[in-house]
């Protein structure tokens, strides 16, 4: 591996990124997902974390462009140069440009956006090209027949860790416990047809299903969910939670129990928490909430309490007027009380006891009713 001349690197471990201009080859959420996946590749082997901005200047500004696009390197039409990126630093440094004369795809039928994005992010973080033909940072694009087999080479890991070191927990203290909690009598059984949940949230593309003192961790890449004690990852968090939701733009998951809320980013419980839920604007009569979900497109967060719900505006950071409203009025078919709710693939998934309601917010109707544990691969 090699770094850029002078070894430029970011002097902080939490970086921001913003997708300024999208390609028309893919739906926006496919581009978002490919970039998130590419960021995760580097997150997993360093202390670095990333959060997405929707306005203003981010450390890594990402855009698609063709031919001459305002920097020293114009693109060259289909083929040849696919993209380029600049080493860490202010302004256009750290930025990534993709050649939109390529055919960008989620699979390998064209130029796979995830693979190229992972390579270009290596540059944005300070890696130059590697002469190791197996390395992600090798300059010549190599497609994979099976993308699930993609792994960083040791050369890539050595390179990025020469700049930022390993993830916070060193190998002898695995950050992510390698084996799940053995199923012990008295622990919840994921295939129990009566299974219900305390809270559910997304977290950086994965899903966390909280129950009692435990949670199942499900990602799109592994069929089998991992099963952990909450305290393994977040020792200071309570168990038997009430609600949880992810604020995507701030890369934070908010956790609720009773009249308190905590904020976690990755494994870190944020300073200044827990706080009282009334800081969000709830009336004093409310002492706990049942479930919460944040719509990442509309930047609105919904809080469900018995048969009613409130709506919070993430931009103005305030509870909206005209609430609470009846759940039955705006989410027809969803049975109160709501135990948990999360958003995925544009739907809201509501959980009440052992039943799960897939709700289409555009059609304003329940599109499927399933067992609550359908996500846990029983």
């Amino acid at each position: 591996f090699r770094t850029f001349l002078g070894m430029p690197k970011w002097r902080k471990t939490h970086l921001t990124y913003r997708i300024m201009k999208y390609t028309t080859d893919l739906p926006r959420d496919a581009v978002d997902s490919a970039i998130e996946k590419a960021l995760k590749v580097w997150e997993e082997v360093t202390p670095l974390t990333f959060s997405k901005l929707y306005e203003g200047e981010a450390d890594i500004m990402i855009s698609f462009a063709v031919k001459e696009h305002g920097d020293f390197y114009s693109f060259d039409g289909p083929g040849y140069s696919l993209a380029h990126a600049y080493p860490p630093g202010p302004g256009f440094y750290g930025d990534i440009h993709f050649d939109d004369d390529e055919k960008w795809t989620e699979d390998t039928s064209g130029t796979n956006l995830f693979l190229v994005a992972a390579h270009e992010l290596g540059h944005s973080l300070g890696l130059f090209h590697s002469a190791n033909t197996e390395a992600l940072m090798h300059p010549v694009y190599k497609s994979f027949t099976d993308l699930t087999r993609f792994r960083l080479s040791q050369d890539d890991v050595n390179g990025i860790q020469s700049l930022y070191g390993p993830p916070p927990a060193s190998p002898e203290k695995p950050l992510v416990p390698t084996k799940s909690v053995p199923s012990v009598p008295g622990t919840p059984d994921k295939c129990d047809t009566a299974l219900s949940f305390d809270a559910i949230s997304t977290l950086r593309g994965e899903y966390l299903f909280f129950k009692d003192r435990y949670f199942w961790r499900k990602s799109n890449w592994n069929l089998e969910p991992e099963f952990h004690l909450i305290s393994t990852f977040w020792p200071s968090l309570p168990s038997y939670l009430d609600a949880a939701y992810e604020d995507n733009s701030r890369d934070i998951v908010f956790i609720f129990k009773g009249n308190k809320l905590w904020a976690i980013r990755g494994n870190e419980v944020q300073v200044g928490y827990p706080r009282g839920i009334h800081t969000l604007g709830f009336p004093p009569t409310i002492n706990k909430i049942d479930a919460a979900v944040s719509d990442k497109e509309k930047k609105k967060t919904y809080f469900f309490v018995e048969d009613k719900y409130w709506r919070f505006d993430e931009n103005s950071q305030s509870m909206e007027q005209g609430f609470p409203r009846l759940i039955a009025d705006d989410f027809p078919g969803v049975k109160p009380k709501v135990d948990a709710v999360f958003q995925a693939f544009g739907f809201f998934y509501f959980f009440s006891g052992s039943s799960q309601f897939e709700f289409d917010p555009n059609a304003k109707m329940v599109t499927h009713i399933l067992k609550s544990n359908s996500w846990l691969h029983c």
């Binding site: 040849y80 696919l82 990126a85 540059h123 090209h129 694009y141």
Partner: protein
């Protein structure tokens, strides 16, 4: 000027491709361009060897088919040498 034969024409276009590639990715100084037209110029031979070594090719110092094939492959636009 007499018309170039097919082989000579192809060799010429390979030379152009190599020259652009080496300028873009291997820091071949463009101001040397008029003197590196001849394929046996020491500088361009060195740059071809440097490129072949970096890209994991056999270092033949010639624009052989493997080398030409790799130069046609899609790649990252960031240089391999120089900054």
């Amino acid at each position: 000027a007499y018309p170039l034969s097919g082989a000579a024409k192809e060799e010429d276009s390979n030379m152009d491709l190599a020259q652009q590639y080496l300028e873009k990715y291997y820091d071949l100084k463009t101001d040397m361009k008029q003197f590196v037209r001849r394929k046996d110029s020491n500088l361009i031979v060195k740059k071809i060897q440097e490129m072949q070594k970096f890209l994991g090719l056999e270092v033949t110092a010639k624009l052989d088919s493997d080398t030409l094939e790799v130069m046609h492959q899609p790649r990252c636009g960031v240089p391999d040498v120089g900054h």
